[in-house]
């Protein structure tokens, strides 16, 4: 019965995403066309003559009125065609298909490392709250949170990559193990940042839960401390963390822009920045749509996980 309710809810949420997508597309469509500088300028550089610019714009269909362009774009989209990249001359769908898995891998990896760091340390800080252990954990993460991502990335790269030689310097590697190995430092960079955000919340929610009466009751029941920590404390303390993690997916993808640049990772973050700078309208539009889909799905997933972790949640 519950499952039936859920699938109904999921369907409803998915349907709700559609108008959001349309609005997103319209906003992006207008935004990219507001960008000063046209694709022809970006592609052809300084040397192009006026006719070449004009010819290029015509070839790209940019001489059409905006409503026509938008209609054409939506029409193509409905047929699953996101157009071709202006600068790379490759179907946008293929580009995204090549690059997106990289960023997703990195993002999930980073989230996993972030949780792996944040959960035990937050629990430790909460249990030993207001001691030097707590102060140290919070202090280190605070410093991490106060430094620009590219700086942390470069320091990790220099220290663990170049000086100690433990990890390769940049790149993506091949095979799952290769990816795990190559993406360790970038995932750690993003993960540290994420962990810094999570530790704060997780610590305070662990403290809140530890002092909750049901934990006291669990102790009064004489349960083993480990069981209390995992089943009673963590399970509850993780609920707000899941929400926070979901909300941070956008930040993670955004952070990927920088890390992908520093670590030479061929993901969509870098592709997006290049596309913005290169006025590659179809790529910008395609990626935005992709991000919108991913973020919306992650939000939905977050809500479902939340509902699973916390039976009090009403999905409606």
């Amino acid at each position: 019965m519950r499952r039936g309710m859920h699938s109904h809810y999921v369907l409803k949420r998915l349907l709700q995403i559609i108008p959001t997508f349309l609005a997103v597309m319209l906003v992006v469509f207008l935004l990219v066309r507001l960008l000063p500088g046209d694709p022809a300028s970006a592609i052809l550089g300084d040397r192009a003559t006026a006719d070449i610019v004009e010819r290029t714009n015509r070839q790209l269909g940019l001489d059409q009125p905006l409503p026509t362009q938008f209609a054409l774009f939506v029409w193509n989209l409905l047929q699953g065609n996101l157009g071709d990249s202006i600068s790379l001359k490759v179907p946008v769908l293929r580009l995204i298909g090549e690059r997106l898995p990289v960023t997703l891998f990195l993002t999930v990896y980073a989230a996993a490392l972030g949780l792996l760091l944040a959960v035990p340390l937050a629990v430790l800080a909460a249990v030993r709250r207001n001691t030097w252990v707590d102060a140290l954990i919070r202090g280190v993460f605070q410093v991490g949170l106060s430094l620009p991502v590219f700086y942390v990335a470069l320091q990790l790269l220099t220290l663990l990559g170049a000086r100690l030689g433990w990890f390769p310097i940049g790149g993506y590697g091949s095979g799952t193990l290769g990816h795990l190995y190559h993406l360790f430092l970038p995932a750690l960079t993003l993960g540290l940042n994420l962990a810094a955000v999570l530790v704060r919340t997780l610590r305070s929610s662990v403290i809140e839960v530890i002092t909750a009466e049901y934990v006291e009751f669990a102790r009064a029941k004489g349960l083993r401390p480990r069981l209390i920590m995992t089943r009673h404390v963590l399970r509850n303390a993780l609920i707000p963390t899941v929400t926070l993690l979901g909300l941070n997916i956008g930040a993670l993808i955004g952070g990927a822009v920088i890390t992908e640049t520093v670590f030479a990772i061929p993901g969509v973050g870098r592709l997006m920045v290049d596309a913005i700078f290169g006025r590659d309208y179809p790529v910008i539009q395609g990626l935005t749509l992709t991000f919108a889909v991913i973020v919306s799905l992650v939000f939905l997933l977050t809500d479902l996980i939340h509902a699973r972790l916390d039976p009090r949640t009403e999905l409606s």
Binding site: L31, L34, V143, F150, T158, A251, G254
Partner: protein
Amino acid sequence: MTATLTPAAPAAPRARRRWPKPTLLIGLGLLALLLVAALFPAQLAPFSPTEFDYNAILQGPTARHPFGTDNFGRDVLSRVIYGTRIDLQIALFTTLFPFIFGTLLGAVTGYAGRWSDALVGRVADLVVVFPFLVLVIAIVAVLGPGLTNLYVAVSAVGWVSYWRLTRGEVLTQKKAEYAQAGRVLGYSPARILLRHLLPNAVTPAIVYLMTDMSLGILLGASLGYLGLGAQPPTPEWGVMVADGKNFMATAWWISTFPGLALTLAGVTFSLIGDGLADVLRPRT
């Protein structure tokens, strides 16, 4: 049958005076330090932050230049001191509008509910499906690089967090006794909202504001890395770190000292945030 003793007790713990935590005091102390540097850079800095000295290029820390000099022979200490004003300005301006706008909007839609809440919710959904940094990059690309446009871009996006926080809090508080009481007493919605609900509901937003301030500075630094942040010769810490990255092996001081300044500012805001959270949050 019920027989209850005098229920005078619950008020008692409240009567205890709540002292500001040392975290808050340390945070405020550090902030005062930063403010002094921001207000009187000319009195504190030994050199001009922008003037070149070709005879003193890439010098390590010395008595004359305690933080060394950069690739133009500029005194890093002076640049860090002058940068305080810029970075505090970034912290303030990237958060001020989102905070005010988001909080008020959250209070109004949380209280009024119905279509206003739904409408703003849709817009918020629209904003949050974009990865923040990507959206800011796009907006800055439209408007051109520089701090002013950074503020505009962040404002367009940043209000959502405050809206969410305040709205949620108002929704909870609306059910609280004092709000119900206000309604019974026939106060106008505006009065209930501004005098009673908002002051209570704004706490999480204020605490978040402190985190957001350091995030604002970091955002400026990230954009600086991509060349979209503060424009030279503005001595902005994040851009200084970014500019120094090519010298990390040969002249570590160029990026290290502004990096330390960034950390100091981050720690300051965080301490104040934690301290405020302790003071403002009702304890159970």
